[in-house]
Symmetry: C2
């Protein structure tokens, strides 16, 4: 007899005579001559109510079928008398597969998210975390579908890299040298020529530069993979290991880049709202009462576009007493971003043309001599969710920028080569996958949307 998923049974169009479900008991309620089980198999948020009467095979031996136990239930799918569910199963037989004694940590009561992080291996068995990680899966697939349907090619950029374009302080070193007795060169320094890859290597902070090499060959590409930051940040929005999406398009300018970012964010949120409506309802009802309205707002209205200069003017004219002083040339801080999206425009905002001093070497210089063709998409409640730019495709300007940023042309010869051989205008952006998931679910802490979060001091499991 083939096991059926509860997600499918919940959508059944009629009664079914003989079904088999297997899952974990969420609750048990006993009456004199029968008992109820709520069985969840992880395929959906809802549990299946199972009615076990004295007539059911296994009734006598079912004492140890308690919260957390795994069970195998055969029976008839019939309309439920109780409220809250369409279908229930009248058990013909019930079998204990694996018991869970009273030490099982997820007894029927509310646990704090902080506590559940300590049992991250069990938390997907709760309603909240089951829903988060089903949505995470659907969101990842929506991202792939969006790009694949647009004929973008998925590129796996390397995780281990010798590149170090954002400054060594924030990088994790990858090595197989014996840390106690590393080989030394003639000057007494550690000789990384002896290391596994014959040089110093780190975990990647971005696949963009390698992504550009593929965009200038295949046209439209995207990456979707893990990236790393060794920052000692202890905030609810930073993780040391997170997944990033980075599309890159040849023959593309900043305007088309902003168009794509907006279409992308709207499309994947729409897809998830459609495919995860049951799971999302949990967040709408219990996590953030304004979430539903916010998501619907984002997918249905155009994002506002303002230049950095306009944004600064708006902030200066706001009369607000910001903790971080606003003037042309400063980085926008979280409080500024939130003012723009939550108070002034009340919608997502794409800010473009940032002062060049604030941005990395690869961004394209604008003709004003002061700004670069960069853009950030800011959303209410989260702040920056997308950061992108048109890339500097002009050889001499790129070389000057690299010199100004102290970046060695020799180390990045291959990146410079793209400007030597058939250079093209191109642009792209990066989106933090977990940030987007936080925005969609209203979950406030990044540690709660990653199966096993890595943050300073924590690499459990």
């Amino acid at each position: 007899m083939k096991r059926l998923l509860i997600a499918d049974l919940m959508r059944s169009q009629g009664e079914l005579d003989s079904v088999l479900i297997q899952g974990w008991v969420r609750t048990r309620r006993d009456s004199k001559t029968f008992f109820f089980l709520e069985v969840n198999d992880g395929s959906c948020l809802k549990s299946m109510q199972v009615v076990v009467t004295e007539k059911a095979e296994g009734y006598g031996t079912s004492k140890s079928i308690t919260t957390g136990a795994s069970v195998s239930v055969k029976g008839r799918l019939v309309p439920s008398q109780g409220k809250g569910q369409m279908w229930e199963i009248q058990a013909d037989s019930v079998e204990l597969v694996g018991e869970a004694d009273e030490s099982f940590p997820l007894q029927k009561k509310r646990h704090s998210n902080e506590y559940l992080r300590e049992i991250a291996h069990l938390r997907p068995r709760t309603n909240l975390f089951g829903a988060i990680f089903r949505i995470r899966s659907k969101l990842a697939y929506a991202i792939h579908s969006f790009f694949q349907e647009k004929q973008f090619f998925y590129v796996h950029t390397p995780i281990v890299t010798a590149s170090d374009c954002e400054g060594a302080g924030e990088l994790f070193r990858v090595s197989t040298l014996d840390p106690k007795n590393p080989p030394l060169d003639e000057e007494g320094n550690i000789d990384y020529k002896e290391d596994f890859f014959g040089r110093s290597t780190y975990l990647t902070v971005s696949g963009q530069l390698e992504g550009e090499t593929y965009a200038t060959a295949l046209g439209n590409i995207y990456t979707f993979g893990p990236t790393f930051r060794a920052e000692n940040s202890h905030t609810s929005r930073h993780a040391s290991e997170f997944w990033m999406v980075e599309p890159e398009m040849a023959f593309c300018d900043l305007a088309a880049d902003m168009d794509l970012a907006e279409e992308f964010v709207k499309s994947v949120i729409s897809q998830v709202m459609e495919s995860c409506s049951d799971d999302l309802a949990l967040f709408f009802n219990f996590v953030d009462k304004e979430l539903k309205e916010r998501l619907e707002f984002v997918i249905s209205r155009p994002f506002k576009r303002v230049s950095y200069t306009e944004a600064v003017d708006i902030l200066l004219a706001s009369g607000k007493d910001f903790d971080n002083k606003v003037e042309w040339g400063v980085n926008l801080q979280s409080e500024h971003e939130r003012y723009l999206t939550e108070e002034h425009f009340k919608c997502p905002v794409t800010v473009y043309d940032y002062p060049k001093e604030l941005k990395p070497f690869y961004m394209r210089a604008n003709d004003d001599g002061k700004t670069v063709a960069a853009m950030d998409v800011l959303v209410p409640g989260i702040g920056e969710i997308v950061g992108g730019s048109q890339r500097e495709e002009r050889l001499e300007l790129l070389k000057a920028n690299m010199a100004a940023h102290g970046i060695s042309e020799k180390d990045y010869w291959w990146y410079v080569d793209l400007r030597r051989y058939g250079t093209v205008p191109h642009a792209g952006f990066g989106l933090g996958f977990e940030r987007l998931l936080m925005f969609i679910t209203g979950v406030a802490n990044i540690r709660d949307v990653i199966p096993y979060p890595r943050v300073p001091g924590h690499a459990e499991f």
Copy 2:
């Protein structure tokens, strides 16, 4: 005017009056009063032939439109007079976007794959590597589609991990400690409590154990992410960084696991044969003349299933003089695997029930006391492509296995917990993504199917 992809134009149902294409010049052929360009934009294998006559705008300034240059072409899509293509473009205008002088390394001639690895940033601009990486993208998406349509959930297991279940010799250490002056503890050893994560951390070799925690909550899950081996292997089949697919299913035994592996391999190959027929034709015609037949064979016939014991008997009865002696209890070597698939059965073979001494601690003990419920799928030309098992779900047996393998229960308390609380039979497998891509394309060296391969001594780009 909107840029159109050459892939779409090649499928055009009729002439088009006014189109814009942008891409890179593969070749140029000059006549007295006109010239031909072959323009490729990466969207497909085929290049678009462009005819530029004296009447075309930009004709006079087009001297520098040579191999490797990027161009923007406007014109009419018309039936081609030449052979080998259905459509060509009669240019109204042609514009040089970025030139490529004679130092451009991909002039019209055949280059060795070894040479092209040295210019891995440019090789996707060749027919062969363009095709490989388009197929790589489609194969990745086929994998996601296969599992998502079966209601499996995609889980991102951690890349940085404190787990070390396959022996420290093969692991990359991840650290932010100052390698020259690491902090020492009272006994003079490096104090990893001071390291970024407060402990020793490594790059993951597999997401399986964490995957099991999610399968025993969500039911059916899969991982698809990078994994790492610090083995000093210099073969054409080993890379230090590669992507792995690892499904894991609750309430699943070895037989169903083998069923899934077979269905999975067939399905993703079929999908790629359908969606990449043009690109695949290149490999059928120029890389491996038997490839097409082999792939069609694999997707259309049942895989043969034999127990390890039967496989050993077949090898012993073969009369072959193997380099590695065959007897019950030894690991099957590449030559044995190839004999089984290529000579004896002439089809993919799933070998199951291996001697327990050959396999890791988590595999489920069979009742014979000698074997475990493991399985490998072997394919012609590659050998092992899938390795999987039913996992030991019985607490006491798992603990005994861990003790026998010298694995600390304390370090894996969360893994053991799965057997304490609602344990269920479960099974899964791992598939090396690049191995599968090699099988599908016939490409012999793993370095040629990874954008920027990482192998001992190499982490360029």
